[in-house]
Symmetry: C2
Subunit: 365 residues, 2 copies
C-alpha cells in the first residue's frame, strides 16, 4: 500500500466526504452525513445531477481536495472502475461503495495499492423512487447495512466505515464478499426472480381468471412490479450465486412435479415435506426488533374507503391497549369497502375483537 | 332427473337450508344465512362440532327434513361423496358446495339423476383460523365467489345459488369447472407453491444470511407460513391444472438459467424480456374496487412501536385529506421503531409528505 488510512477514534466521523453518484442512495447518504456535520462534496457523471443534490441540501459541488471518505454510489456496472479511480485520485481517503453485489468491486480492488483503504458496503434500503430528489437522510434508519472488508482492508478503514454506518442509524452487519453475495441472492435476487416468474404467468392469462386473485397473489408478485433497469446489472454481476440457488429451486420444483404426477399417498408424503420445509423457512425470517417471532394472529375489520375511517379504527385499537404487529388493507372486489387485517400478539386477538365489536366495528378473527 | 328444482323468484332466498360441515366456511355461511332469516340446520361428521356451531348462533342441530338448499362445506377430499349423498337424501333440494377445486365433484355428479339440482361454488375467502368458532357472518363480504354450474344444472338452481351468494354480500362470478380450476391454479395454488419453494430455500441457510431479509422476502414467502393439511388435498385434486402451470414456470426458469449462464448482452436481452413480462403481469391484478389500477406512490414514515402512535399518524393523514390505498408496517431490524409505508394516489404523495412533515413526522418519499 502507498498510504496509511487516516487514524480515527472509534466512532469518529470523517471531517470531509465525497459522494460520487447522486442517485437515491448517494444523495440520501450525503444528506445524512451533512446533517451530522460532515462537509460533503458531491459529484455525478451526468451534468446537473450533483447540482440538484446540492440544491436539496446534500452538500456542495465544489471539488473535493483531500476527503477522508469517498462513498461510491454509482450504478452497479460502474462501481469497480469508479472505486479504483477514487483510490488513486485520493491517496489518503477511505473508499466505500453501496453496490448490491460485492464480487465485481472486490475482484477489481484486491491486490491494488489502495486495497487497504477500501471497505465495501451495502445498505439494505431503498424506495421505488430514484434520483437525487428522492433522497432522504432517514432512508437508512434501522436498516441492515452490510460492511464487507477485503482481507487486506486496514482495521482503521473498517472502523471508519462502521462508524459512518452507525451514524446514519443503520445496523452494521459484517460479511465476507462471497457470504454477502450468497446472502443477497437468497433474500433478495432469487425472491425477486421468483416473483417475476409468477407474475409472468399472469401476462397471458384470461382476464376473468385473474379476477379471482386475492391477497396471496398480490403478496407474491408485489416486488415484480418494480423497475427493471438496475435488476439486469445486479443479476449479471451476481449470476453465480443466483444460479446456484435457482438450480436448487429447480430441483425442488421437479420433486413437486413428480409428486403431482404420482398423486395419492405418494403426493401426500412428498408434498407435505415440501410444505413443511417452506413453513420452517418462514419461521426463520426475523420478526420485529430482530427478535425471534412471537406467535401472532389476525383480526379482520371491514372499513369504508374514505378519509378518517382508518384513523378512527387506529384510535380504537390504541384504546384497546393492543399493540399492532402488522397492518394491511385489502380492497374488496367491486365494492367501496376495504378489509383491514390487524395482526397482533396471538393472546391479544380475542380481546381486540371484542373490544372493537363493543366500539361498533364488525371485527372478526 | 328425478325431481325439478324448487321454483324461485330471482333474488329469493331459501326458507330452509342444511349446512353439512361446520368448519370456518360452513359456519360462516350458516351464520350469514341465519342473519338473513333463513332457517339453517347444521350437520358435521365429527360429534359435537355442529353443536358448537349452533352455540355461536349458526342454526339448529335438529335434523333437516326437506331443506330448499344444502351447502356442502366438508374437507375437499369428502366433497364429491357428500354432495352425491345429499342429492339423494333430499330429492327436492338444490345442492351446492364450497370446495376450492371443482373437477372431483363435477365428475362425480355429472350424469347422476340429481345433476340438475347441483351447482358448484367456491368463495374466495378465509382466514388463517379454522373450525366453527372461527366462523363469521362477515367473511364473504365483497369477496369473489365462483358459481360453477354443470352443463345439466337447471337455470332455477343456478339462480338460487347466485341469490344466496349475493345475499351473503359476495360477488358471484360464473365459471365452467375447467375454467375455475385453471383460474385457481393460476391465482392461488401455483403462487402458494412458489412461495413455499422460496421459503424452503431459507430452511437450511445460514442465520446471518437471513438477517439481511427485507420486506420483499417477507411478501414473497408470507403465504408459505400457513397450515399444510388442506393444501395437500387441494393440490392432489387440482394436479392437472397446477402441473401445466408449473411446467410453464419451469420453462421460464430454464430460460433465466440460460441467460445467467450466457451473461453480458445475451443476459440483458433475455432477462429484460422476463422482467418486463413480470411487470406486465402485476399490472393485470385488479386494483381496489375492481377498477383498473391507478398509479400509486409510497410515503414512508418512521413510527415508534407503541399504542397510540399509528392512531395519531392515521388522524394526521386523514386531516391531510389524502385517502390511503394501502398501508404496511415494516418493523426495523434491531430497533423499537417501525417504518410505515403509506400508499396513496401518485399525484397526492408530495402533498401528503409535506403535510405530515409540517405535523412533525419524519415523512419521506
Amino acid at each position: 500500500m502507498t498510504a496509511t488510512p487516516p487514524t480515527q477514534d472509534a466512532g469518529a466521523l470523517p471531517s470531509t466526504a465525497l459522494v460520487i453518484g447522486c442517485g437515491l442512495i448517494g444523495t440520501s447518504a450525503a444528506l445524512a452525513l451533512t446533517a451530522r456535520g460532515v462537509r460533503v462534496h458531491l459529484r455525478d457523471a451526468v451534468p446537473g445531477v450533483a447540482e440538484v443534490a446540492a440544491s436539496v441540501g446534500a452538500g456542495t459541488v465544489e471539488p473535493a481536495v483531500a476527503p477522508d471518505l469517498v462513498v461510491v454510489a454509482v450504478p452497479p456496472a460502474a462501481v469497480a472502475e469508479t472505486a479504483l479511480a477514487a483510490l488513486e485520485e485520493f491517496p489518503h481517503a477511505v473508499v466505500t461503495d453501496v453496490a448490491s453485489v460485492k464480487r465485481p468491486v472486490t475482484e477489481a480492488v484486491t491486490g491494488t495499492p489502495g486495497a487497504a483503504r477500501f471497505v465495501g458496503g451495502h445498505p439494505m434500503a431503498g424506495t421505488e423512487r430514484s434520483g437525487p430528489t428522492a433522497g432522504s437522510a432517514l432512508l437508512f434508519e434501522g436498516r441492515p447495512w452490510a460492511v464487507v472488508p477485503l482481507p487486506e482492508s486496514a482495521p482503521e478503514a473498517v472502523a471508519l466505515v462502521t462508524s459512518v454506518v452507525q451514524a446514519l442509524e443503520a445496523v452494521p452487519t459484517p460479511f465476507t464478499p462471497d457470504q454477502h453475495d450468497e446472502a443477497v441472492a437468497l433474500v433478495s435476487h432469487v425472491p425477486h426472480l421468483v416473483s417475476v416468474l409468477t407474475a409472468g404467468l399472469l401476462a397471458s392469462a384470461p382476464r376473468e381468471h385473474i379476477d379471482l386473485a386475492g391477497p396471496g397473489l398480490r403478496d407474491v408478485t408485489r416486488i415484480a412490479g418494480s423497475a427493471t433497469g438496475m435488476w439486469l446489472q445486479i443479476l449479471d454481476s451476481n449470476a453465480a450465486a443466483v444460479t446456484a440457488l435457482l438450480q436448487s429451486l429447480r430441483g425442488d420444483l421437479d420433486r413437486v412435479l413428480d409428486a403431482l404426477a404420482a398423486g395419492g399417498d405418494v403426493l401426500t408424503g412428498r408434498l407435505s415435506d415440501v410444505l413443511d420445509a417452506g413453513r420452517a423457512g418462514t419461521q426463520r425470517i426475523p420478526g420485529k426488533h430482530g427478535e425471534v417471532r412471537t406467535e401472532s394472529a389476525s383480526v379482520f375489520v371491514p372499513v369504508e374507503d374514505r378519509p378518517g375511517v382508518l384513523s378512527q379504527l387506529m384510535t380504537d385499537i390504541g384504546e384497546s391497549g393492543v399493540n399492532i404487529e402488522d397492518f394491511r388493507i385489502d380492497h374488496e372486489y367491486g365494492r367501496p369497502v376495504g378489509l383491514a387485517q390487524v395482526e397482533v400478539a396471538a393472546e391479544r386477538a380475542d380481546h381486540l375483537t371484542s373490544s372493537l365489536t363493543a366500539r361498533g366495528w364488525s371485527a372478526y378473527r
